[in-house]
């Protein structure tokens, strides 16, 4: 296969996972997007050295982790907030996943279908319109804390639902 086509296929296969990893450390969407692009270019530059006996996702994540650590500034703590030790721990945790992102996405779609309309609307404000908690609170005329609590509960509920579905799929 043409190396470029092979590279793009591998990159797109783990893009969601790499973005999730970067996004968990860099919370600003634009900064996270910038770093993902930087990682994608570095991966291509180093692609000839990629050991094909290893999973591409794990290799890509290692490079993403390295890039994140390079950006860590102990004084400013921006755009990377967490320390290198914490980044390493998170990277290890990301590495240990078993379910492919596509199966997770399917499980999430199913779980979202069973949410009440009000909950879906709240999630849409947060993720579709990218509003921050205080902006959502203003829009819904609610307190900041109540929105924060509602979102936390919703995410926990969704997380449990996704995991239940993934486990059921694994058993079947």
């Amino acid at each position: 296969m043409d190396p470029q086509a092979e590279y793009l296929k591998l990159l797109f296969g783990c893009e969601l996972e790499i973005r999730a990893f970067i996004g968990s450390i860099i919370r600003d969407a634009n900064d996270a997007d910038d770093l993902f692009q930087e990682v994608a270019l570095t991966l291509w530059k180093e692609f000839s050295r990629y050991d094909r006996s290893r999973p591409f996702g794990a290799w890509a994540q290692g490079i993403a982790g390295m890039k994140l650590m390079q950006r860590w500034d102990q004084t400013k703590r921006l755009p990377v907030v967490l320390s290198p030790e914490a980044i390493e721990a998170v990277s290890r945790a990301f590495d240990q996943t078993e379910s492919p992102p596509s199966r997770r996405a399917e499980a999430l779609e199913d779980c979202l279908k069973h949410l009440p309309e009000k909950s879906r609307q709240l999630l849409a404000l947060r993720y579709e319109r990218s509003l921050k908690i205080d902006e959502i609170a203003q829009e819904l005329k609610a307190t900041l804390d109540s929105i924060y609590q509602s979102l936390s509960r919703l995410r926990t509920r969704l997380q449990d639902c996704v995991n239940r579905r993934l486990s059921a799929h694994k058993m079947a």
């Binding site: 969601l16 999730a20 968990s24 919370r27 969407a29 530059k45 990301f94 995410r155």
Partner: protein, 313 residues
């Protein structure tokens, strides 16, 4: 206090994490954590693999939710467009059928798809050619009057429409359907030919300098001048208090007024050279020299100010 079992890094059952750890993770992901709480989370992440696992799970969910809702937003936009188109074609149908004989009884319809339904719509009964000609002849004076009226209105509109000469080529070469042109027609695909920059000077002062081989379509609507960029790019200068310039590409929409910025939109994947080993991904590069522009991409708006350069993949 311990919570019911939650899931960690292996996507199987792992040790539960404390309420506090869960709270810290949520706070962090919502950018709601205090600096002291971030430090507390760091320690937990570095020392407890279950907390790190729960953190990764929560971050994955966060990312999947973003992905889901952005995809949903696009689906909704397309659905809205289809609905609009459906509604307008429905209105047209009602108008043309108003003076026709009554339609036969409606056949059974398939449900579930708005597209299937049209296949079952009744067909109009055919008229003989002689009857059609006779009917047309009777209506001829009215048809002539209507045509005259339309022609007059069209002439007035063409002569009076704002910015009629706004697509004037100031320098360089532009071709439309393999022919050199001096005026770039609205809504038609054109390409910059030769090795020189093509400069389009608009009547309202906006200047667009396009690089060789650029392919684009120009459109004008009230208050907005749109460049639909298929590939290539160039520099765009928009004076203050002038119409907004909007550059549309597959990777994002750049909008600006009272500014000077450049865009470069690459769609192809040129082969990497052994010398550089650089990958040229499809990309949109936006850099701003003066003022500011907004780049809208996947429902997210980014404002770039003078001195900023951003690559969108």
């Amino acid at each position: 206090m311990r919570q019911p079992p939650t899931f960690g890094p292996q996507n199987g059952l792992t040790m539960p994490i404390s309420d506090r750890s869960r709270e810290l993770i949520h706070k962090y992901l919502e950018a709601h954590a205090l600096p002291s709480e971030v430090v507390e989370l760091e320690v937990l992440l570095s020392t407890d693999p279950d907390v790190a696992g729960a953190f990764a799970e929560a971050a994955r969910l966060d990312s999947l939710l973003k992905n889901h809702f952005r995809k949903q937003q696009k689906i909704d936009q397309v659905a809205a467009l289809l609905q609009t188109s459906e509604a307008s074609s429905g209105k047209t149908g009602a108008r043309t059928e108003a003076d026709e004989p009554a339609a036969p009884a409606e056949p059974p319809r398939l449900t579930g798809s708005t597209f299937v339904r049209r296949l079952w719509e009744p067909t109009r009964p055919r008229r003989s050619l002689a009857r059609s000609l006779a009917a047309t002849a009777r209506r001829w004076p009215w048809i002539a009057a209507a045509l005259l009226l339309i022609a007059t209105a069209a002439s007035v509109w063409v002569l009076r429409r704002p910015g009629r000469d706004s697509f004037q080529l100031a320098s360089g070469r532009v071709i439309v359907a393999d022919r050199d042109v001096q005026h770039v027609p609205e809504g038609v695909l054109f390409a910059v030919a030769g090795g020189e920059i093509a400069v389009l000077q608009f009547s309202h002062g906006t200047r667009i300098e396009l690089t060789p081989a650029t392919r684009a379509v120009l459109l004008q609507a009230a208050g907005t001048c749109t460049v639909r960029l298929n590939s290539g790019g160039g520099k765009i200068t928009v004076p203050g208090d002038r119409p907004v310039v909007r550059v549309e590409t597959e990777l994002g929409i750049v909008t600006g007024t009272d500014c000077r910025f450049s865009v470069e939109f690459t769609t192809a994947l040129p082969g990497a050279t052994a010398a550089t080993e650089r990958l040229e991904l499809p990309r949109l590069v936006v850099s701003v020299e003066r003022g500011s522009v907004t780049v809208e991409r996947g429902g997210v708006r980014t404002t770039l100010s003078a001195g900023d350069e951003r690559v969108f993949l």
